[in-house]
Structures are given as structure tokens and as C-alpha cells.
Symmetry: C2
Subunit: 297 residues, 2 copies
């Protein structure tokens, strides 16, 4: 299995996800930007804007390689001379507060000293937490994980709780999901199976979201719901710009800004010391933005 | 001059600035939150929302002290055991795109090993750059600086160009101003004079802003102007959350989140790969968001 074949598999996954999302949205078409990275490689950014469901989102593919830069060395423990990285990352912001924001990422990293690893994750950020939908989401993730290793779901679910967390607000970004990094082959799993796991997750992603969209898209919303959606969007901005390692690393290491910040919501609002006192459903949701909830049993 | 007397001078400066801003706005009153820091000290946060001119803003005073935390040690070169820090910081977001966003900060830091320093700055972020107003702003800053040391303005103006810079977009936050840090007494200037310089800057701040407000507040604006204002606001968010040292340090070291993020704009928008092609004044302004413009001669 060459790195090029992994990149090719991710590229096909991007095609598949985009096809399915066009279908899920019902009206959406996407804009495509092919870009080159000066120091090696490039990507294919696909942007969704003003769809029937997706107000703003993107499905990025990239395959970049070259010398390990100083910025990379000072932000990681990498000592090798050259790197290769390929991956897909998706963020979707819907236009209806009753549909969750969703994120998915799978990636492969390889160094010239022979080290390699897979990473990725999927997490769901409902503006309003609906328990039944949160449970369904986690069940589906567990099902994919269990096919490869029954330790994956509990381990990666906890990792997601810890990762998708706004320490400065002591709240999680949403209801979590799974997050993993530095996965290598070992006695239990081969490199091929790890790639299959990533691809399987990627193919599950649009189906997971289709369910969430179906549940929410018929629901009416008012000004209060939109206010709450815009507050949650501002928290999404805070997470991605303050805490998210991929975003920070991309921005300081000279990644393509428009592709990295495709994760930003279309709108956001900030109010000083906001509490959703006149919106009980929002308060209830806020109470569920904590680590350690067991959505499975 | 004790550290308590410096804090007291900053507290009085906060009073003065708030009084003047109420006057500049014409309608605005502010909300006050007194807060305590568990590990030592506290602050007085004053928040402006939905004024006649100021849509959202704040004037923060804080005086905090205690043990130097691990987070502080890993983010700075501090090796002392205890610290004391006091300062004022102001950010104002106006409701009219023809009035600039403005920021001011003065601060004093002292360590138990005897080291101390002053820092601070003022910078202006016009949504639309009006050259005459930018020139006036820089002239006034130079005038204050020159009273203390004629090397201050050129040095601190360059520092501001370098500091208030979004490397990931290769654009400055606005038209700059002055920025300084680690100022200590030396053969040319005493500690008392450094405090006077900070206080002088602080008192100049509302007068500088009054001029900018006066120039802009009568001007009409339309949807295109509001779109551009919201784009500039999103860049302000990006600067503060990705690049601003004070914000990042405050958030990771357990500062009071609502006081730190009082700098966030009331609203912001992100559009993929936005270029203000249908707004020539916006394009012209963007061309002036570069380092190294000499606004004085």
C-alpha cells in the first residue's frame, strides 16, 4: 500500500461524500477550487454555500509533502527531514437550528524516517441536544468502530470528549463523537485495516448526517432559536481558532487559509455574559455540553 | 511608587475613560461587573452594549497577583515565584461601518525577583480607511509619544505594524498605531515617567476616538457596507483568537473569559474566498491594510 494509493482512496471518498451530500441537501451544488502548495502537493476544496439545508460548509481533500518546516518542528515532536500528509476534512453548518453542525476528518501522515500514522474523528454539535438523536449518532459510531476493534469506541469517545472541549468556558463543543490520532499497525490490526477503518468512517459520515437532517429539517424556528444558533456558532469559532490543533497548525505553518477556515460558520454573534434564560431548551442543551456522558447504555 | 499606587492610577483612568465614552456616545450607559480571582486579585469590567454609537465594547480594569502558574511559565520566560499585574484594556465596536473599531491597552507587570515592566498600545481598525483620519490618528499618537521620547513613536509604530498583523491573510488588522512591551526605566526615562506615558496615552484615547466618531457618525450606510463591516469583524475575531498574545494567554491561564472576550464583535460573518469586488471602497481599504505605511510625513 503506497502513500499515493491512500491519497487516491481519500480522493474517491471525497467524491462519494460530496455526491451523497448533494442528495442529502436536495438542492445543493458545490464550488470546487483546485490549489497547489508551493513547497509540494496541493488539494481540492469543495465548498457548499446557501443550499436548501447546508448554509455553509466544505469538503476538503489535500495531499501535501516536502521538507518538514521549522514551524512544524517547533509545534510537534517531528525530527525527520521530509513529510507526506493526506486527508479529508468536512464541516457543515445547516440553516436550521434544529439540525446539528457536523465535522469529520480522516488523515494519514508519513515521515521520511519511516514513521506513519492515521488520525481522524467525527463529532456532532447540535444547537439543541435531542437525546434520541445523540444516542443514534453514538450507536452508529460504535458500530463502525466495533468492526475493527472493540476497544476503539470507548477509547476514541473519551478522546473526543477531551479534545472537543472549550476549557475557557468549561463546556464541550457538542455531544462529542470519536477522535483518534497516531494509529499504527500492531498485533491487533494491520495498516490496511486502519485505512479501511478511516474509509468506513468516511462513508458512514453522510449517512449519519442524513439521519440528523431528516429529523430536524421540518421543524419551525423563530428569532430566539436563531439567536441561540448564532451563539453556538460563536463557540464553534472559539473552539476552532483557540483550541483546534489542526486549524492552529495550518494557519501558522502556511496552509491554505481559505481551505482551513472553510470551517468557520456563515454568521456568529457574541453577547457579554450571555445566559439563555428566556430559552429553556437552550439551557437544557447547555447542561448536556459536558464530558463523560454515556450515550450508549 | 508602589504597585498599589499604579493600580489606583489605572482604576482612575478607567473611570475617566468611561465618563468620556458616555459623553462621546451620547446615549450609552455601561454595565459594571466586579469580579474576584480565586488565586488573588480581581477586576472591574465595564460593558457597553447597544449605545447610540457603540454597539458593543468594554473597558476592563484588573489587578491580579499570586503564584506564577505553570501555564504562565510555559508561555513566557518568567522564572520568579510570584507576580503582580494591573492594567486597562478597551475595545469598542461601533454600529456604523464609517466609524472605526478601536483598541487601547496599558499594563504594568511586576515579579517577586524585582523585575517589572510597562506595556500597552492603541490601534485603529477602520472598516473603510479614510486617509485624513488615519493621518490625524497617527499624528496624535506621535504627539503623545514625543513628549516622553522621540524614539518612541517610530519604534512603537513599527512594533504595532508587526504585532497587529494577520499572517494567515497577509493583512494588518487596521491602520496600526503604537504597541510597546517590556518598558523599564533607563538613563533616558524614569519609572514615574513611564507610568505618566501610559496614563497620558489612556487619557488621549477617548479624545482620539471622539474625533473618529464625529467624522463617521453622520454618514449613511447600506447592506453592502454592513456586509463589509461584518467581514472586517470576522478578521478582528481571527486576530484576537489566533494571534493576540494577551487573549491566548488569558484563555489558557484561566483568566475571566467574559472579560477577555469582551473584545469580540457583536456580529461577524465568514464567506468562502471573499473579495469585495462589488464594493470599490472596500477594495481600496484592503489595499491599505499593509505594514510600513508612513502616515506622518
Amino acid at each position: 500500500m503506497t502513500r499515493e494509493s491512500i491519497a487516491e482512496a481519500f480522493r474517491k471518498l471525497q467524491d462519494h461524500i460530496c455526491d451523497r451530500l448533494v442528495n442529502v441537501d436536495g438542492r445543493e451544488e458545490f464550488k470546487e477550487d483546485i490549489w497547489k502548495r508551493k513547497a509540494g502537493g496541493g488539494g481540492r476544496t469543495r465548498v457548499f454555500e446557501n443550499g436548501a439545508v447546508i448554509e455553509k460548509g466544505g469538503v476538503n481533500f489535500s495531499e501535501v509533502f516536502g521538507e518538514v518546516t521549522e514551524a512544524m518542528k517547533s509545534n510537534t515532536e517531528i525530527t525527520a527531514e521530509d513529510f507526506f500528509a493526506t486527508g479529508i476534512s468536512v464541516v457543515l453548518h445547516p440553516n436550521n437550528p434544529h439540525i446539528p453542525i457536523i465535522h469529520m476528518n480522516v488523515r494519514y501522515f508519513e515521515l521520511s524516517d519511516g514513521k506513519y500514522w492515521f488520525g481522524g474523528g467525527i463529532d456532532l454539535t447540535p444547537h439543541y441536544v435531542v437525546k434520541e438523536q445523540a444516542v443514534a449518532f453514538h450507536h452508529e459510531l460504535k458500530e463502525v468502530c466495533d468492526k475493527y476493534n472493540t476497544s476503539f469506541y470507548p477509547e476514541f469517545k473519551k478522546w473526543a470528549d477531551d479534545y472537543f472541549y472549550l476549557s475557557h468556558r468549561d463546556e464541550t463543543r457538542g455531544i462529542g463523537g470519536i477522535f483518534f490520532d497516531h494509529l499504527k499497525e500492531d498485533g491487533n490490526i494491520s495498516k490496511e485495516e486502519l485505512l479501511d477503518f478511516c474509509l468506513d468512517l468516511g462513508r458512514t459520515f453522510p449517512e449519519l448526517y442524513a439521519f440528523q437532517v431528516e429529523k430536524g429539517k421540518g421543524k419551525a424556528f423563530n428569532e430566539l432559536d436563531l439567536e441561540w444558533m448564532n451563539i453556538r456558532r460563536s463557540r464553534y469559532v472559539e473552539f476552532n481558532l483557540v483550541h483546534d490543533r489542526g486549524t492552529k497548525f495550518g494557519l501558522v505553518s502556511g496552509g491554505r487559509t481559505e481551505s482551513i477556515l472553510m470551517s468557520m460558520p456563515p454568521t456568529a454573534i457574541w453577547k457579554y455574559d450571555f445566559h439563555p434564560e428566556n430559552n429553556p431548551k437552550a439551557s437544557e442543551s447547555l447542561n448536556l455540553l459536558v464530558k463523560g456522558i454515556d450515550w450508549i447504555s
